[in-house]
């Protein structure tokens, strides 16, 4: 039984978070999101001409997302470039953003989203998705809602929010990891994956805990975006 968390957090507590927008001056919009030791930087370019040309859709725009873990982000050096995991996460982030952005407003154009993980300590796809959605809003794209993504899971029957890498690796206790992304004000799920085993009842519990965490992240995102305009007004 998992009685106490390895970093002494409450079972439904998030790690300390930080969010900031406008970190990449050359991009149309950008954001940085940190949760515990996981940090992601996202930059959004466009809408612009679609390249390669055969991706073009005549009635709507497309989102091209590239997720990359930088070599120094993990204790063992990550090989630079895209591996299978990067490709998968790029795809799930694209799918989630497709639900949030009104793509039909940009026929025949492309929005490029690049996400870099500068530090990884579990939950990178959630941090990346959160950063990417903030960057999209910062780039002035029409969106249904911001996305707040968080991982939750169960360890030894106990439901935990926002697992660290150490907790994820507690395989003997039966650690399960469920990354999920929400459109918080719409009560919609845009990302849901599962790593491990979980019962139906437990999954419901995990989702409820994750939703609560996502609302907290959502408030932080809104505050970070608003802070950008008020910072401008000070200078």
């Amino acid at each position: 039984m998992y009685e106490k968390r390895l970093d002494n957090r409450a079972f439904d507590a998030l790690r300390p978070m930080e969010a900031e927008t406008g970190v990449v001056p050359n991009a149309k919009g950008s954001a940085r999101f940190r949760i515990g030791n996981t940090e992601a930087v996202a930059a959004v370019y466009g809408p612009e001409e679609v390249k390669p040309k055969h991706f073009e859709k005549f009635d709507k725009g497309i989102i091209l997302c590239k997720y990359d873990m930088l070599p120094f982000s993990v204790p063992d050096r990550a090989k630079p470039g895209f591996d299978r995991r990067d490709t998968e996460i790029s795809q799930v982030i694209t799918n989630a953003l497709n639900r949030a952005v009104f793509l039909e407003e940009f026929p025949r154009s492309m929005i490029t989203v690049r996400v870099y993980v500068t530090q990884a300590d579990a939950g990178t796809r959630c941090a990346s998705l959160t950063a990417a959605s903030m960057a999209c809003a910062d780039a002035g794209l029409p969106m249904r809602d911001l996305i707040a993504a968080v991982a939750a899971g169960s360890i030894g029957g106990k439901t935990c929010l926002d697992l660290t890498k150490e907790e994820e690796d507690l395989h003997e206790e039966g650690a399960t990891d469920v990354p999920m992304g929400f459109l918080p004000s719409k009560d919609e799920i845009v990302l849901l994956q599962l790593d491990g085993k979980v019962t139906r009842e437990q999954l419901k519990e995990v989702l409820a805990v994750g939703k609560k965490g996502a609302m907290e992240i959502y408030e932080l995102e809104k505050e970070a975006l608003k802070r950008r305009v008020s910072n401008e007004s000070k200078s």
Binding site: G46, F58, P107, R108, A137, G140, P142, S185, S233
Partner: protein
């Protein structure tokens, strides 16, 4: 009931109102009006609208734009108007006679033009035209790019702000609706005008922008 007030900053998905009074920058879902953009709210008797903090120019019919010639073909010029796609200017749509063939003896790549968007197709392609006395080749001068979402603030009510800059700096200013601003004048005056445009872009949320610009330009004048 409207949940927000003028000059509020909202993020996408914010509930604005539960009446059917959403205008630009909002969307409707289940009888509620939500914000579509990260931007500033405007409320008036006609409804709620949200202006995005930044945006990209998409051509619309009737827009007056400043473009840069990219390429001269044998029947048309290719023009960059800061939209996602390059547009085409047919050699029949200019206000001077042209002969087919080498069109770069009339307008070369890199030259600036003032033109009007005549046609926008569903797929975002557009045609521009220079027919009419208003439209012409612009002499090479200072160009400033302004975010299209901030253009209304630059122009002001019935052109109040832009006319103020013109008067105070003695500059000739042409504002393209694609966010390209062309400024002609004497050395120091041009710098002052550019500063004023940049000032507006940074202080777009200021409710008394015209007065702030006047003050700023007077400060500049006192210094020189």
């Amino acid at each position: 009931m409207i949940n927000v007030k003028n000059f509020d900053i909202v993020t996408p998905g914010t509930l604005l109102s539960d009446e059917n009074n959403g205008r630009n920058g909002t969307y409707n879902e289940g009888n509620n009006i939500y914000s579509k953009y990260f931007g500033m709210v405007q409320v008036n008797e006609r409804g709620v609208s949200v202006g995005p903090v930044t945006s990209k120019y998409f051509p619309e019919e009737g827009d007056e734009v400043i473009g840069r010639i990219v390429e001269a073909g044998s029947k048309y010029w290719v023009v960059d108007i800061d939209a996602p796609y390059l547009v085409r200017l047919d050699n029949r749509d200019v206000n001077f006679r042209t002969e087919m063939g080498e069109l770069d003896k009339y307008m070369k790549a890199g030259e600036l033009i003032l033109a009007r968007v005549t046609m926008v197709y569903v797929n975002n392609a557009a045609d521009i035209s220079m027919k009419g006395t208003r439209y012409a080749k612009l002499p090479p001068n200072m160009i400033v790019k302004v975010d299209p979402s901030k253009l209304p603030r630059l122009i002001g009510k019935e052109g109040a702000t832009i006319n103020l800059i013109k008067q105070e700096t003695n500059c000739d200013i042409v504002v393209g609706q694609n966010g390209v601003v062309w400024i002609e004048g004497k050395g120091g005056n041009v710098t002052a005008a550019v500063d004023a445009v940049k000032f507006i872009e940074e202080n777009y949320y200021n409710p008394n922008l015209t007065d702030a610009v006047r003050e700023m330009l007077q400060n500049v004048r006192e210094k020189t």
